[in-house]
Symmetry: C2
Subunit: 528 residues, 2 copies
């Protein structure tokens, strides 16, 4: 070896050491890969590289300048054309740990459910016309039989603003110039989802997109918070999750409304009934899976109790007590407690510190254990109240952090997450559509990974974003990195079970099932 | 104290400790603030908060949904309306450590210089018309007297594509339908700068904006690489830098072209003559400052030798030898060596490793010391060749890192930067316009600060971006954080001197002058 050659060899060795050192915290390199996994990893990386230079480098009529990990709402149709997406759709995803129940079911499906309900009515603050159809939001509500409306249409000039019209009539009589019944569907779906123009143009700032985002929940609440729809909504959520390879769910349910509207149109179904329904549907779906010999594909679902961070600290006390009461009656269902809503605008955790500290004392008294699983740091703020929520979530002993987008700014917090096993529920597509980043390559996920912070990828609000299941989120992450590969996705899936609220026995059981599924998946990748 | 109160007090104490711990690496908290600085800090924070809720919350006709730290090219006019900008424009900035000389002078000024030169000619590949004026780029070149052209216009149908027209004629005869001479100016300026539509619409991906960005350098080279213009260009750069409170400069000069065009139109002025010119203008400007009793405001300027990372490793050897020769002749001028250009597309450092290792050996032989000051990690890639440049820059012993945008992904690299004092030349506005982030709140700067990585804020290519001086970059950083304040900017300014290539005696001298300027600045803030 000449001196230049030995210099080079020495350099390459130092380089390998530095890279290894830099990546030593990564969780996806801790377990060795099987020979089949090594093969599958290479296959997936080759397909990724090929598609990066074909599908993602061509100009498409409707998608100018595409690239891997581009804006989801614009790139979605290209994603569906990839081989990578097909492969990932078959991947066993483990658990879905961050999804808001009222934003989990395809909006078209929800509308179909709604159209079967004669009790459901719609009203608008002014007659719908061609010029206002894109900005007027429908308000839905189930009415008691004696209040059913005779009004026929929300598009006729004779419509009296604020009058309820049955949803079936409103659809049938939707003006032909507005597209008739199909126009009605489009109008409602538009109010339930964020479209690319809104995300990337008219509402492209964080403040503006949150206005639109929040409005979708107000619209959908009128449909979902209705006893005949609620179980069917949950059933569809479970069904489509299973189809996407999700075996376990911890769903956040918004308990802000203290009651739900019953079949009779009366607003009087209390929270405990919601849980009875949830439990019933869960059992039915699991029974059904069992009958098909597929019980391993869906081991269960739990609820993270949430309310919204605009209530007063005094009001919060009611919800905390409610949560404890539900936990005592349904110990197998209540998995944790959280406060949700736009952190940039709403009340920070520090302002709730008194009731939250008291909550822990009350749990001891009542002999229950309800971990906090807080949203925190879903923000671009640096030292803002929303960013500071991360400190309080940690100090309050949060089991996981919802989003934790700003955690990467905090070296000490990342250390604590790694050392104490506090996983982050990272929602890549949600973060991008809500304008924390403009595309996936901007997402700070690689920082979390290189710091050894456990991550469970999540979909957040798929009915609003159109990222049903977890495949889209896994896809966006995989194509935006050359470090991450199939073994990174494996780690996400495994960690989603590892950092769930399952007890150690349940966890062991779940992971054993998942590992079996994973092996079959890898065999599938290698053999095709 | 009741038990709740003591719980709360204990909580607040733990919280303060965690926050202090999390921020303990920050460089801006190491030195205590003077009473005047504490006052000034508060004044600046109050103005920032006020303007965030006034100027940045109102809808403006030309700026929909503004926010602090928004897209620079759209928000620039609002920035100019703020009190904060006026204050920062008076702040002593210390050193400018990252700027490409050929992109440092206002484009209108460059055009004015050019229009005084009868030797300068322009040509285009086809006649300029209303439909192509926005896409056709001018090519400029100084011609020898015997090749001066008689052609009159680039907008007449009789124009023969590719024919040189004197710049003076081309301007005078620019078709009135295209705006006449003013239209000519607009056309040229448009080719020298990136406009908001390009950055945020037509070229809003990294790949597309780099195409536009690169094209501006090709256009300007035809004007700047001309002996009569070069010194005036440098003089203006120094002059405007001084006006903005910059006291010392390390400018990157692109030595890719081995010669410059002389006054006689012959392309034969070698690199050493460029340095003679640089030195002469520097001395003249410093003499002039001295005559005004202002010598402390400009203590000097040096050159970082750069060439472009598309040359072969063999070609690089010529430049490295050239750099050594220049260093021997002008030891006070050559400050370092760098390779520049779009890292996402061009050759990574690892491919140049042989000549770069040899460079160090050759320096020893020649008894010179030329530190590497590498661009590295100016990318969103994760494990891409551009991202991996960060490892090689470190292993090659880089003194600072240009951009280092992806350094935040690498915990070990941040540790090394902190421990070894490797500063990052962070160019916030450049990063945003070149689409690494969409606005300042997305910029990873806070991560660097909380990890104790030294940072020198820089402007990169102000003639292309319109961020002349350093005030705009300081502004964007200040309004995008609630942790950072005036003391953070103080640290940037001080660190720009601390991590310059000045020797320890020069550094001590520079910092003493700067500290005096800083005190006056703080007095100014407090007294008005």
């Amino acid at each position: 070896m000449s001196s230049t050659e030995s210099d080079l060899a020495e350099y390459q060795e130092r380089r390998a050491t530095l890279i290894r050192d830099d990546r030593s915290y990564r969780r996806d390199i801790q377990a060795p890969l099987s020979p089949a996994e090594i093969k599958a990893e290479k296959i997936v990386r080759d397909i990724r590289a090929l598609e990066a230079s074909t599908i993602w480098k061509q100009e498409h009529a409707s998608v100018p300048h595409p690239f891997p990990g581009m804006e989801f709402l614009t790139g979605r149709n290209l994603i569906l054309q990839t081989k990578l997406f097909k492969i990932l759709s078959k991947m066993p995803k483990g658990a879905l740990l961050h999804a808001h129940l009222d934003a989990t079911v395809n909006s078209e499906f929800l509308l179909k459910l709604a159209l079967q309900q004669p009790a459901l009515h719609v009203k608008v603050p002014q007659t719908i016309t061609l010029s206002n159809v894109d900005s007027i939001l429908p308000e839905f509500r189930a009415l008691p039989l004696d209040q059913y409306s005779n009004a026929l249409s929300v598009t006729e000039t004779s419509y009296e603003p604020g009058t309820w019209v049955s949803i079936q009539n409103a659809r049938a009589a939707f003006d032909p110039s507005l597209g008739g019944p199909t126009g009605f569907d489009k109008w409602v779906i538009g109010a339930l989802m964020i479209n690319p123009t809104e995300a990337y143009n008219t509402h492209s700032t964080i403040a503006k997109i949150w206005e639109k985002f929040t409005s979708t929940f107000i619209v959908s609440a009128g449909l979902i918070r209705f006893a005949p729809i609620f179980p069917e909504y949950i059933r569809e959520f479970f069904k489509t999750s299973i189809e996407d390879g999700i075996m376990y769910i911890e769903a956040r349910i918004n308990f802000l409304y203290k009651t739900m509207i019953g079949e009779d149109g009366e607003d009087n179904i209390p929270h405990r009934e919601w849980l009875v329904t949830f439990d019933r549907v869960l059992n039915e779906v699991q029974e059904n899976m069992k009958r098909q010999g597929r019980e391993g594909e869906f081991i269960g679902a739990r609820i993270i109790y949430t309310t919204i961070r605009f209530i007063t600290p005094e009001e919060l006390e009611w919800y905390l007590e409610d949560c404890i009461a539900l936990k005592k009656e349904f110990p197998h269902l209540i998995a944790g407690f959280d406060l949700v809503g736009n952190e940039n605008e709403l009340i920070p955790l520090i302002d709730y510190i008194q009731p939250l500290l008291k909550f822990r004392a009350r749990q001891k008294e009542e002999g229950v254990d309800i971990p906090f699983i807080f949203h925190a740091g879903e923000t671009l703020g640096d030292g803002s109240a929303a960013d500071m929520n991360v400190y309080d979530a940690i100090l309050l002993g949060t089991k996981r952090i919802g989003h934790g987008y700003s955690v990467v700014k905090h070296p000490k917090i990342m250390d604590l997450c790694r050392e104490r096993g506090i996983a982050l529920e990272v929602c890549p597509i949600s973060n991008e559509i809500l304008r924390l980043c403009s595309s996936m390559p901007m997402h700070p996920l690689p920082i979390l990974l290189n710091n050894g912070v456990p991550v469970a990828l999540s979909s957040d609000d798929p009915s609003v974003f159109g990222n049903m299941g977890l495949t889209f989120d896994f896809f966006q992450v995989l194509v935006s990195s050359e470090v991450s590969g199939l073994s990174t996705l494996r780690q996400f899936a495994r960690d989603s079970l590892e950092f769930s609220t399952l007890n150690s026995e349940e966890k062991q059981h779940a992971i054993a099932i998942w590992e079996h599924q994973w092996e079959s998946f890898i065999e599938g990748v290698v053999s095709t």
